[in-house]
Symmetry: C2
Subunit: 445 residues, 2 copies
């Protein structure tokens, strides 16, 4: 019997990963017999200062998960223990099923302020209950993908690899985060379970401890290269350029060994990469690549490549793992319609757009995005492409909608080719990307 | 058959939550027959700019978890599929057990740069394999507790409640985070599963959607108050002071209802709280409390209380859920001894202290902390209290060590009473808390 709590959240407990008020409000709706259909909209009011767009990620995954949500026996028993719920309500909860629709942006869609990432249409006691879990699930992937895509943009086609498992917030973030990285276009991950589960190639180098456990760096390099052909050797444990010379000496003395790359992990990367490249080239090792890591972010990568520093691939950990410069997005999940009537709150700074919506994206003749229109869902706009698709229909995942989730990585790559220039920039600043309201929606407001 | 990936990580998969190089290095050690004992030390080199101390949390929980780590059949099968590992090595991995010792700070210990939160003594192929998972597990709780304790300090005895589930990074963060909040001294959480699993009282109010789904705010208040005696009513959906007047009107007309508190969630909190307090008091409702939320952090709470604003409790979400101002801590897990010899790397800016260690904390006559000494583990310092305890001994959780984890919340409260004045401040700045090296350790260096 372990003395500490388990890490796992079983399927039959997941419904308890919610804020208490979702359950108390649901009990109140149930007692009042309020079961008209409601629409809730998931959106954010402002982009983080460090982001010109967000990549909407995780919403189709989350929609599929919540469509299967159940209150298992164990969950019901725990709720009973709190003494806050009637037996009759708990019985009703045992049979609770999501029977509504969930509209989502396809995974990997660039999204801007006020645009729904997702809308839920369902009897109010079903739609309300999903709030906390949906927000938790969608935020993680959206925040991480939105950071990762900036690294991909900065690297201009060079591979960027995730080294961030140790900086991610716990187990679920570490596994599901790799799904977001895959969508964003990272080339690989060091994270074994994440990569295997979400189909991103595994990459690995070596740690300083391996060098230090051997009698000499040269001996450590030799041993590791024998075991792992074509590997990447970490050269900075003692002195980076001495490390590079040790690699060169090793390959000169044992030409049957193959080394794929060296990794720089400290010091002045621009200077060291140039010197290392020269040493390798002079030794006829032009095909040994240089991988750089060490506190990198998109700005550092951009600066290195702008200066023409010969780095072939980047490993990013600390700045990626929790999206440190924008670790949260202020998502809202708001009631926008109940019993067929648009609803809206008026709290200062927190007002929202009423009613069921659709988002249209417009392109110019060259295929570049020129702006979006947020419209009523039932409005026929006549121009632009509607973005929101029905991912869950009457409680069942819609195959057409779900198929779009599988092509998320390609969607991001394609979208990047259609960005107007301001969206391609990395420095903070407004994107000047116009998001307007349709006439129909403006009239409701 | 779900189309999307599960959220759970089963016990027999947890060993795969590691960086690839841990496994390739372990295979290399195994092939080389390197099985001498190693010591790895988990520490950070710098405090985040926004923190004057960190609360070491999660390390005893993590130590207990990794002491039970196994490579199950499914994990072995997945590793085999990668084509990177020998069958003989995978057989060996099937029987892999952690048989070493883990020394930890007791959970809830304030910790400073260069001090080990944890040290692992074990055959190198056992200690190496724990790196990524230990770092992932310990970072989460340490980062969240270190933020949460600042909110507790700012609130000067008033309750602070976690509303952050929706801003936390995924499922594991959301559940295990509540363990950190409990340690840090939060009074409650809205997070049902987190609170139930980690024994923190559940709190809940109501959402704007509940108000909007009813024909009027007054009607919504009446319904909710009937269902949930002593509840907290959210008064800012339309206009905060009108909301307060609706509460007063309701209690005047239906005095059998009981309302515990009102919640302000937008606007100018100081002004609104004063006006609301006056309205409630004038109506004879002096015992109805005022709860405030809406983008609060420790600085905002401190400013409100310094100005004497009559707020009785605080709900904090966005700024807490991912510790937004310091979402990562740059933990290192470094080989410091192998085969009885201290080891150290020299990478610029990334050097570390060699050898097995102990940390001693000193107090003055008033019981206040005056500074720490980092010493060799085998050194008898003669003054100060040793902090690191053996939490896992020869692969088994040590009951004495684990018992200390249970008193983490009390440890934090007690430590806060012993802080020298600079550690009690919230604004960024150095704490001037002296951490020195013992003579023995300095000699090794």
């Amino acid at each position: 019997m372990p003395m500490t709590a388990p890490l796992t959240v079983e399927d039959d407990e997941l419904a308890l990963l919610t804020d208490l008020y979702q359950l108390t409000m649901t009990q109140a709706y149930w007692r009042e017999g309020m079961d008209d259909w409601a629409t809730f909209s998931l959106f954010f009011r402002r982009l983080p200062a460090e982001r010109r767009f967000m990549l909407a990620c995780g919403q189709q995954h989350a929609a599929e998960l919540v469509s299967r949500l159940r209150f298992g026996e164990r969950a019901i028993a725990r709720l009973a223990e709190t003494g806050r719920f009637d037996d009759a309500f708990l019985d009703w909860l045992t049979n609770w099923r999501f029977e509504g629709d969930i509209w989502t942006l396809p995974e990997g869609t660039p999204v801007f302020a006020d645009e729904p990432l997702l809308e839920v249409d369902a009897p109010i006691a079903q739609a309300q209950l999903l709030e906390s879990l949906l927000m938790n699930l969608v935020q993680l992937e959206t925040v991480l993908a939105s950071k990762a895509v900036r690294l991909v943009m900065a690297a201009r086609g060079r591979p960027v690899v995730d080294f961030g498992l140790r900086r991610m917030h716990g187990v679920d973030a570490a596994v599901r985060g790799v799904r977001a990285y895959r969508t964003a276009g990272l080339a690989g991950t060091s994270n074994v379970l994440g990569g295997l589960r979400h189909d991103l190639p595994l990459n690995g180098t070596m740690a300083h401890s391996y060098i230090l456990a051997h009698d000499s760096e040269r001996e450590a390099f030799r041993a590791f290269a024998r075991h792992m052909p074509d590997t990447t050797l970490l050269v900075d444990t003692h002195d980076t350029l001495s490390g590079v010379r040790n690699v060169i000496g090793l390959l000169r003395d044992e030409p049957e060994l193959s080394i794929g790359a060296i990794r720089l992990d400290s010091g002045h990367l621009a200077e060291l990469a140039r010197d290392a490249r020269r040493l390798l080239d002079d030794a006829g090792l032009g095909d040994v690549k240089i991988v750089a890591s060490s506190g990198l972010d998109e700005h550092a990568i951009d600066a290195l490549l702008t200066a023409g520093v010969p780095i072939d691939a980047f490993g990013v950990g600390t700045q990626l793992g929790a999206s440190a410069d924008a670790p949260v997005i202020d998502l809202s999940y708001k009631l926008v319609e109940y019993a067929g009537e648009p609803r809206v709150k008026h709290s200062p700074g927190k007002a929202n757009l009423p009613g069921r919506k659709q988002v249209y994206r417009h392109v110019d003749d060259a295929g570049r995005f020129t702006g979006d229109t947020i419209a009523r869902r039932d409005e026929q706009l006549g121009h632009g492409s509607p973005l929101l698709v029905r991912s869950v229909s009457r409680g069942q995942p819609a195959p057409d909608g779900m198929a779009l989730a599988a092509s998320a990585r390609e969607r991001v790559m394609e979208a990047r080719g259609r960005f107007p220039e301001p969206l391609t920039r990395l420095e903070p600043g407004t994107s000047d990307y116009p998001v307007t309201l349709s006439e129909g929606l403006a009239a409701w407001r």
